[in-house]
Symmetry: C2
Subunit: 328 residues, 2 copies
DNA sequence: AACATTTTCGCAAACGTTTGCTGTGGATAT
DNA sequence: ATATCCACAGCAAACGTTTGCGAAAATGTT
C-alpha cells in the first residue's frame, strides 16, 4: 500500500488539492463542513504529510545537524540527549553524526548536513580539524552554527563551553578550603586546549591563594595511563587527588582500589565530572559539575537566539557547581 | 547567499538542467568536455544536491529512524553508536528519537518517521506500549521495522535481542564451575520481560546442575535499591554476588565498598554487562557480555536483509561471551 | 552523395506540497 | 434594481530534482 497524498484525498472527495491542503491546516477560507469531511477522510486514510515535499516547497526543513566525535561518551551522550529533547519540544528534528574525531568524516558529515538543508548546526570539531572553510560556508548560507565543547579558535562564531577555568578554580578552592597540603593533580592530554585551560586555572588559583601547597602534576592520555601514574605518585603520599575529567577519574580510582586506600581517610578525592561516575563509588566522589545536559540546553537556546535574528556572536559557558560527595 | 541549483549551473553554462544533472552523475550520454565544464563549475560554486528534491523525485530517502527510550544509557548509547556508524558506511542517514519510555512520545516519534518517509525503522518499544497498531502501519507500507532489545510479544516481526537466557545460563555455569555455595542473585524490576527471562534461565541452570547451591534472590528497581538490598543480604554471608545488569551492578558495588569487602577474597562477583562498568573496579568484574555494539551491527544487517527482499521474520540474538575480570 | 548510426543534448512530466490570485455564487446594502 | 461584499473553492506556478523520449549534430558506411 502506498502513502496517501493530498491528491488522493481530493479525488475521493471531489475537491481540489488546494482545498484539501487548506482544510487540513484549518484555513479560514474553507467551510466547516468541508473541513470536517476532509479531516475525517484524512485520519481514516492515515494521511501523513510528506516532509520532503513540504521542505522543498517551503524551503525550510526544521532539521538540525549535530556533529560529535562519539555518541557513546560520558559527556556527549547527555549533551545529545538534552539537545534531542529540546528539539522535540520545539518541533525540530535532529540528525546526529559521529565524526570519530576524524576530520575526513567530519567533512563528509558537513556535506550531508548541507545536502539535507539543515536549518542549523551543532558542531564539536575534531581535535585535528584545521580546515574551518566548510564552516564559513555555513555562515555564507546564513545557517547558524553553534560550536560546543571543542570549539575553534576564531572570533566571530557562536560557542558554548563548559566553564573550564572556573571549574578548575572551584576545585582548587575546595582543596584550599580543606587545608590540604599535598595534591596529586592529574590532567588529560597536554595537547588538548581543555587541559591547558584547566591546568592554568588550577595552578594559578593554588599559587595565588595557597602557595604553600605542594602540587604534583602529571598528564595521562587515557584511563589506564591515569591508573599507572596514580600508583606511581601514591608513593609520595599525597593527601589529595584531583582528577581533571571522568576518564582520568576512572583510571585513578582503579589505582586507589588496587592500593586499598580508603577515602577520604587516607586520601581525599575531588574531580571535575559530568556527574555519573562519581556516584559509582562509596563514599561518592566530590566533584565540580560540568553538565552535558546543561550545555545541551544552552546550545539549543543559543541556536534559537540565532534563528530569531540575533546577530551577536559570543562564547557562552555553563555555570559550574560543586557537588559534595564524601570524598573530600 | 543562496544554495546553488542545477538551474543556476545550467544557465551559466548555457546548458539544459537535464544535461547538467547527467553530467554530474557521469552519465554516458554526456561528452567528456561538458562533463568537465559542469563538474568544474559545480565545485567552484560549491554545489550540493538538495536531498529533499531528490527524495521527493525518487521516492527514496536513504533515511532510517531509530526510536529508543534514552540516548544516555549504558547500553543504548553503544547500540546507537554502532548503528550510526553502519549507516554512514552504507550511505544512509539516521534520525534518532528518544521516547523517554513514554508511549505518547513514542507515538508522535513514529508519526515523524512516517512524515519523513524513512526507508526503515529501528525501534525499542516503551515498557508500557500496548498499542502496536502504528507499527503494523509500517508493515502495510512495506517499511521494514527491526525491533531491538525490548521487543513486542508478537510473531511475524523482526527482532534482535541480547541472548538473555543464554547470558544468565553462562553466568550460572561460571558460578557452578567455581564451586560456589551461596549466591546472592540480584535482578531488575520483576515486571520486565528481560528480568523474567534471565531469572528463569539462571534458576533453571543452578537447580539442574548444582541444586545444592543456596540462592538468595531479590529484585531491585534501581541502583539505590540494589545497594540497600545488597547491604541487607550481606549479613547472610553469601560467597558470590550475581548482578543481572549494569545498573544493578553499580548499586551492589557501592554496598560492597561501603562494607569494605574485598573481592574476590571475601566475596566473588559476576554480572551481565555491556562491558564498561566492570572495568571501573579493581580487580575488574567478571561479566557475561551483552554488547550494544554487537546488537547494533546485528540490527543493521537484519535491516539490510529486509531491504534486499528477505521476507522471513525472525528473532536474532547476539552471541554472548564470558569476559574474565578478577572478581570471580 | 546519400543514408545509417552514434553521440550528445534538450523537452517536459512527475514527485507532493504551498500559496497568490482568480472566480463563483449568494447575501446584503443602497 | 444594481452595486458591493463575503464566503468558499479552484487554477496554476513554484520548490529542485530525475528520467523517458525525441531531436539535432556529428560520425561512419556504402
Amino acid at each position: 500500500m502506498n502513502n496517501t497524498t493530498l491528491k488522493n484525498i481530493s479525488q475521493l472527495l471531489d475537491l481540489s488539492i488546494s482545498t484539501v491542503s487548506r482544510a487540513l491546516k484549518n484555513h479560514p477560507d474553507i467551510s466547516e463542513k468541508t473541513k470536517r469531511r476532509v479531516m475525517e477522510l484524512a485520519t481514516t486514510m492515515d494521511y501523513e504529510p510528506n516532509a520532503n515535499a513540504i521542505n522543498l516547497r517551503t524551503n525550510n526543513t526544521r532539521l538540525f545537524g549535530l556533529i560529535v566525535p562519539s555518541i557513546s561518551n560520558f559527556f556527549y551522550d547527555t549533551f545529545i540527549s538534552s539537545v534531542e529533547e529540546e528539539c522535540r519540544k520545539n518541533n525540530y528534528s535532529l540528525m546526529i553524526l559521529q565524526s570519530g574525531d576524524d576530520p575526513v568524516i567530519e567533512a563528509t558529515s558537513l556535506k550531508l548536513c548541507r545536502q539535507n538543508r539543515v536549518t542549523g548546526l551543532f558542531a564539536c570539531i575534531s581535535s585535528h580539524t584545521n580546515e574551518l572553510e566548510p564552516y564559513i560556508k555555513f555562515k555564507e548560507l546564513k545557517i547558524p552554527v553553534i560550536f560546543f565543547d571543542k570549539v575553534p579558535d576564531i572570533k566571530d562564531c557562536n560557542k558554548v563551553c563548559v566553564a573550564d577555568a572556573a571549574a578548575a578554580r572551584m576545585a582548587a578552592d575546595a582543596i584550599i578550603d580543606k587545608k590540604k597540603k599535598k595534591v596529586l593533580a592529574l590532567f588529560g592530554s597536554e595537547r588538548l586546549l581543555i587541559t591547558r585551560k584547566r591546568l592554568a586555572a588550577f595552578k594559578e588559583t593554588i599559587s595565588a591563594k595557597a602557595p604553600s601547597i605542594t602540587v604534583l602534576i602529571d598528564f595521562a592520555s587515557n584511563a589506564t595511563d591515569a591508573a599507572t601514574l596514580t600508583s606511581k605518585y601514591l608513593e609520595q603520599k599525597p593527601d589529595t587527588l584531583f582528577c581533571m575529567s571522568d576518564e582520568i577519574l576512572t583510571g585513578a580510582m582503579k589505582a586507589i582500589q588496587k592500593n586499598h586506600l580508603s577515602f577520604p581517610d587516607e586520601i581525599s578525592i575531588i574531580a571535575i565530572s559530568n556527574g555519573f561516575i562519581p556516584t559509582l563509588y562509596y563514599p561518592e566522589i566530590t566533584y565540580v559539575e560540568t553538565s552535558g545536559n546543561k550545555l545541551g540546553k544552552l546550545a539549543f537556546s543559543s541556536m534559537m537566539a540565532c534563528l530569531e535574528g540575533s546577530t551577536i556572536t559570543q562564547e557562552l559557558t555553563t555555570e559550574t557547581i560543586l557537588v559534595e560527595g564524601g570524598s573530600l
